[in-house]
Symmetry: C2
Subunit: 193 residues, 2 copies
């Protein structure tokens, strides 16, 4: 099921995940903390953990954004909550408006931005998330996160997460504009690496 169809098919309830502007602001504070943590570790050269946190920030943006209209009950699959499914959250973060931002296009280049959108839409973030956190055996050898997640991907994920936040949540409350000053500064800092 396409994610836009899924969103269109959501049954509105009065039990939304986010139920007020105050709650949205709390979620925004949490998301900006994740983005700050990701950027701090990126600047320290700890790329895999940074990448994991950028992907987590994208998930939390999707919950805060779409969760303003729904409690997450899947419209077709009984008993399933799509806010507990990593792949669906990644798809709900990578909406078609994200790559339209000129700032992200300029910072990543069109090809890299398209790679990120494809990853988010086709479970590439699910795989990257696991690869970023855990060691594992692969084709007969032990592989650790630093061998799977490089600086380029980590930089792209941090900038992508900031743009996803900006696109989905900034402008919805006054507080979101204040927090946007923090993430705008981080975007510039990471862009110039």
């Amino acid at each position: 099921m396409d994610v836009l169809e899924l969103i269109a098919g959501i049954v509105r309830t009065d039990q939304n995940l986010i139920q007020s502007a105050e709650e949205l602001d709390k979620a925004i504070d949490h998301i900006v903390q994740l983005i700050q943590d990701s950027c701090c570790l990126f600047m320290n050269g700890s790329y895999p953990t940074s990448a994991f946190l950028s992907i987590t920030a994208c998930e939390e943006v999707a919950k805060a954004h779409i969760g303003s209209f729904t409690d997450g009950k899947h419209p077709e699959k009984s008993g399933r909550n799509f806010f507990r499914d990593h792949k669906t959250k990644h798809q709900m973060a990578a909406l078609p408006t994200v790559p339209m931002g000129q700032r992200l296009q300029d910072a990543l280049g069109k090809a890299e931005l398209q790679r990120l959108m494809n990853m988010a839409q086709h479970a590439g973030f699910v795989q990257a998330r696991e690869n970023a956190l855990y060691f594992q055996r692969e084709k007969g050898s032990l592989v650790i996160p630093v061998e799977k997640i490089d600086k380029k991907l980590t930089r792209s994920l941090a900038l992508f997460a900031i743009e996803v936040f900006d696109d989905a949540l900034v402008g919805r409350t006054n507080h979101s504009y204040e927090m946007d000053d923090i993430t705008d500064a981080l975007f510039e800092q990471i862009k110039n690496t």
Copy 2:
């Protein structure tokens, strides 16, 4: 099934998760990076993300330790790999030798150390891990990680993760002693907060 029974019942294979000293050293480098990331974010005041990374470090220690003897196939539950189960990894990290270390007892106090052992053994780390990363609704309100994970728990988890690493892995290779210098310095730094 008690975790010591589980470990005793493990069927030895020649397909262990860790198959050489070189592989163990790679896993150690990855674990020490997680500990460094956790301590960096703790010193920055980002407690929930730090707590999440300390718990992840414990999981990876358990995999590197027990994974030197097994591929993780569950001895009784067909098709299950216990290295993919968070609760089992937490139990395998919190072995009875961990609270015997004088350094950890001195830094946490006996009651706090017992609280951490209980959490690790009875799915408390599973809950803390989720609470540290994601916002959620609870009893009619939105709750964000910073409301669930405080400085005291985060400090305890960072020190606990360092001791778990030290207890299970330091001494097994020459490289582990070098990495222990890094984590010993972090232990002192975090202890004095």
